[in-house]
């Protein structure tokens, strides 16, 4: 298992002058990653580890964005193709792709992404709400947008990303 070499820089986003205030509170840190040219961020507190792509065991009748499961030190962890989950196509994974292992509540999952870029610190005031898009599904798991110089990072709420799936009919044994 090779860990891809990523140089992780730290950046801080400051509230834009006159920007809309999304919320107040302490600074939060996010890990950002890329899917193609788009950049996303997830709460660093939920990230357990980052590893390289390893072949998964397919799950029958799984939705297209669930690539299968892997063995993570004795625990069975499902890997989600985020590109597919976001309706942007499917990822063809190679050894340079990255899997971010996250923990939401009692559940551990893996997110398949192209590459990890950064750790950023965000003041809540710097987060702008996501503008109206077509499908209601989109809005529900996005937490907001943040501008970092030239870059635009979309913040993803992992809890809502997974709880939405639970609502669709996934048997959630963890809550029994």
């Amino acid at each position: 298992m090779s860990t891809p070499q990523t140089s992780v820089r730290s950046s801080t986003a400051i509230a834009p002058p006159g920007g809309e205030v999304a919320g107040t509170g302490p600074i939060q840190q996010f890990i950002t990653f890329t899917l193609g040219t788009e950049e996303y961020g997830v709460d660093i507190m939920m990230v357990r580890e980052i590893k390289g792509w390893t072949a998964t065991t397919a799950l029958p009748k799984a939705p297209p964005h669930v690539r299968g499961v892997i063995n993570l030190r004795g625990v069975i962890v499902p890997i989600h193709d985020l590109r597919a989950r976001f309706d942007m196509g499917t990822t063809t994974p190679t050894p340079t792709h990255v899997v971010i292992i996250v923990q939401t509540g009692a559940r551990t999952s893996g997110l398949l992404v192209d590459a990890v870029s950064d750790i950023i610190s965000i003041e809540p005031e710097a987060v702008r709400p996501v503008p109206e898009m077509g499908t209601p599904a989109d809005e529900q798991y996005l937490d907001g947008l943040v501008a970092l110089g030239e870059r635009m990072v979309t913040l993803v709420s992992l809890e809502r990303l997974f709880s939405l799936e639970a609502g669709i009919g996934l048997t959630d044994a963890a809550t029994h």
Partner: protein, 692 residues
């Protein structure tokens, strides 16, 4: 040497132990009462019941659970009286004891959850218990032994104490010296020993008391403190405590009152107690975590051993001659170790079943029905992890039977049924699994109603024709309740679908069999253990699957002439004159690159406790191995046809087949399969993409 008593916080760590113990004591309590109900008890049973309540009360007092203690106190007093009596308690007394036990259990639960029964709920029962004792003993207050309230005396007083111990003082290993030391701590003490009664050595009796003392004590402490020092010897001594310098009204030469000892009736020495009926087993208590760790460790050992076998297999045979033999021995030992460790964690289902009689009692009383619950097979052992999860589904099934199944007495009479309804709860081992049945002799499932409701909810197309079994199975769909009123007992819709999911998440199944007007039977099938499994690994395309060995009957490579296509049903294989339907795993699971010709692959003939025989077509059989079952549910969810996952020797994940569900999946019986991510109406789904 630490001189402090542990604070309240430290005592809290024992709360958990106490409540665990209460649970066991309550179980034992009910069991003993049950023994008496069946006419099989003896005086020792009553003693045992007394001890249960006594222990619950004792611990409760330490934690300040006053309400619990007050109630237990009265219950205990009644039991105390009963155990002296010559007659064993009968029907009415036993009923009362059951009610008292129920209340006690509630109060324990209330103490544990800090939210108990409504205030005063136990009062009438308590009064009843007290009344049963005939002579109304005033309830002795249970104030914990408080320090003697001492009126603050600022000035020291002088006391003269005359202490004449009798022989009994020494016989009870009391030491005058220790008493004097205690007094000396209160102030200034001068001890005068009187040897005048000491006889000649020739007639000296070592067990006799010849010495007596006069003590002069100067202390600011109140009289009670002095009396306290003599607490244990007061009854067996003559003690005189006089205050010397002050004139206390009536205190001069006031002899120490002898503690009130009721005339001890000649009571037969209880003697070494008879062993508690039926439970004389030597046992030790072990933390569940320790056992869990052991089970996990054994699981890891199994995986490691599989890896070793794999590495060993890749070596040329001559490289290490003893290796194969050694690994085989290791495998045998591991198997034994595994069985032993699993047996430790296995417990009789009794611990779950024991709550049910009370449930039936209460709910049937609430509903105005009389119902008798028969329980068999409580000794059947099942893994602890499975047992804990059984309580909720079983409770729900019983409530359901009581509420919807069993008819009210007048209706039963009209149908020529006995007025008393019957529910039977049983557990037994059957072909490598545990089978639990809940059956009742009620009205059965109202099929027209269920079908209508299902059609109404859009679960079943209007024109579809369903068999009786299929209609019965509909009750496991969400949102299906035909209760005309939302009953507080079984609720609305939170019902069978949750029960089924609960059972499935344990790797089990639930099925229903109903006969209108006659009764209904729910059958739960659960794996004996969730942890380790003997499996046959098979290859399909690039994937490896595990088929549980208990399901495998035989395997073979078919010849073309035995293969027969059947219209609309795929292929069947003729085996010794019998026709066995074939299931192509690559079709069912959508695996590419697999063998499509059964005659070039292997057919594994399987059978489960629920389905008949059928043959699974795979590419090849890879070998038999023990696998550690890992949960898919923890991080993903349940997949129909898959009963868990495991980690192979090469580190990859392999899925374990759920043979019983597989056929259902193959038939595409969408009504029954719980497909994860089935889109809710109105939501878009992504176009299906190939798995790889």
């Amino acid at each position: 040497m630490q001189d402090q008593a542990p604070g309240k916080q430290a005592i809290e760590t024992f709360r958990a132990t106490y409540f665990e113990e209460c649970a066991e004591l309550l179980d034992a309590l009910y069991q003993h009462i049950s023994t008496l109900e069946q006419g099989q008890g003896d005086p020792e049973t009553v003693h045992a019941i007394f001890r249960c309540v006594h222990s619950i009360k004792g611990g409760g007092g330490a934690f300040g659970f006053d309400r619990l203690v007050a109630f237990a106190h009265v219950f205990e007093a009644l039991l105390d009286k009963l155990r002296d009596g010559k007659i064993l308690p009968e029907r009415e007394m036993l009923q009362l004891m059951l009610r008292a036990s129920d209340m006690l259990a509630d109060l324990v639960a209330g103490a544990r959850l800090a939210e108990g029964p409504a205030a005063g709920a136990e009062d009438s029962l308590r009064a009843l218990l007290a009344g049963m004792m005939g002579d109304s003993k005033p309830e002795t207050s249970l104030v914990p032994d408080a320090e003697a309230a001492s009126a603050p005396v600022s000035t020291a007083r002088r006391w003269r104490i005359r202490f004449v111990p009798h022989a009994a003082v020494y016989a009870s290993a009391n030491e005058p010296l220790l008493i004097f030391r205690e007094l000396a701590r209160l102030g200034n003490l001068i001890v005068h020993t009187d040897l005048s009664r000491l006889p000649d050595l020739a007639v000296f009796e070592p067990t006799e008391a010849y010495l007596f003392w006069t003590l002069d004590l100067e202390t600011a402490e109140p009289r009670e403190r002095i009396e306290e020092a003599f607490e244990f010897v007061a009854d067996d001594s003559d003690i005189l405590i006089e205050s010397v310098n002050h004139e206390e009204p009536g205190s001069a030469a006031a002899p120490m009152p002898a503690a009130a000892t009721p005339a001890s009736e000649a009571r037969a020495d209880p003697g070494p107690g008879v062993a508690e009926p039926g439970r004389e087993t030597r046992s030790i208590r072990v933390d569940v975590e320790k056992v869990d760790r052991l089970v996990n460790l054994v699981g890891e050992l199994v995986i490691t051993q599989a890896m070793l076998v794999q590495f060993g297999g890749s070596l040329p045979p001559e490289t290490c001659p003893g290796l194969t033999g050694g690994l085989e021995t290791l495998s045998q030992h591991l198997r034994e170790l595994q069985e032993g460790v699993m047996a430790i964690r296995a417990q009789p289902v009794r611990s779950v079943f024991s709550r049910m009689p009370r449930l039936v009692r209460e709910v049937s009383a609430q509903l105005g029905k009389t119902v008798r619950l028969a329980v068999t097979g409580e000794g059947t052992e099942i893994d602890k992890t499975v047992i804990e999860q059984l309580a909720d589904p079983l409770t729900h099934l019983l409530r359901n039977a009581l509420d919807h199944g069993i008819e009210p007495p007048h209706e039963r009479e009209a149908r020529n049924k006995p007025k008393q309804g019957a529910i039977h709860l049983s557990a037994e081992h059957r072909s490598g699994r545990i089978v639990i049945e809940v059956s009742d002799d009620g009205r059965g499932i109202d099929r027209p109603k269920v079908l209508a409701k299902a059609r109404q909810n859009g679960l079943v197309p209007v024109e579809a024709i369903l068999s009786s079994d299929e209609i019965d199975d509909l009750i496991f769909r969400p949102g299906l309740t035909t209760a005309d009123e939302v009953s507080a007992i079984s609720g609305r819709g939170v019902g069978m679908d949750v029960v089924r999911r609960n059972i499935q998440s344990l790797g089990g199944r639930i099925a229903v069999s109903s006969s209108p007007g006659v009764g209904c039977r729910f059958t739960l099938s659960l794996p004996l253990t969730l942890a380790i499994l003997d499996g046959m690994s098979v290859a399909v395309g690039q994937e490896t699957y595990i088929i549980p060995l208990t399901n495998i009957m035989e395997s073979l490579r078919p010849v073309p002439r035995d293969l027969h296509p059947v219209v609309g049903r795929g292929h069947v294989l003729s085996i010794r004159g019998e026709y066995v339907p074939l299931l192509f795993l690559h079709e069912v699971f959508g695996v590419s690159g697999a063998e499509t010709d059964a005659c070039c692959g292997i057919v594994v003939v399987v059978e489960s406790d629920r389905t008949g025989r059928f043959g699974i077509v795979v590419d090849e059989m890879l070998g038999q191995q023990q696998v550690v079952v890992k949960s898919l549910e923890a991080n993903y969810g349940s997949v129909d046809g898959i009963g868990g996952a495991t980690i192979l020797g090469n580190g990859r994940v392999a899925l374990i087949l759920d043979v019983a569900r597989l056929q259902g999946v193959a038939n595409g019986a969408a009504a029954r399969s719980a497909v994860p991510f089935a889109p809710a109406p109105g939501r878009q789904i992504l176009p299906a993409a190939p798995i790889h």
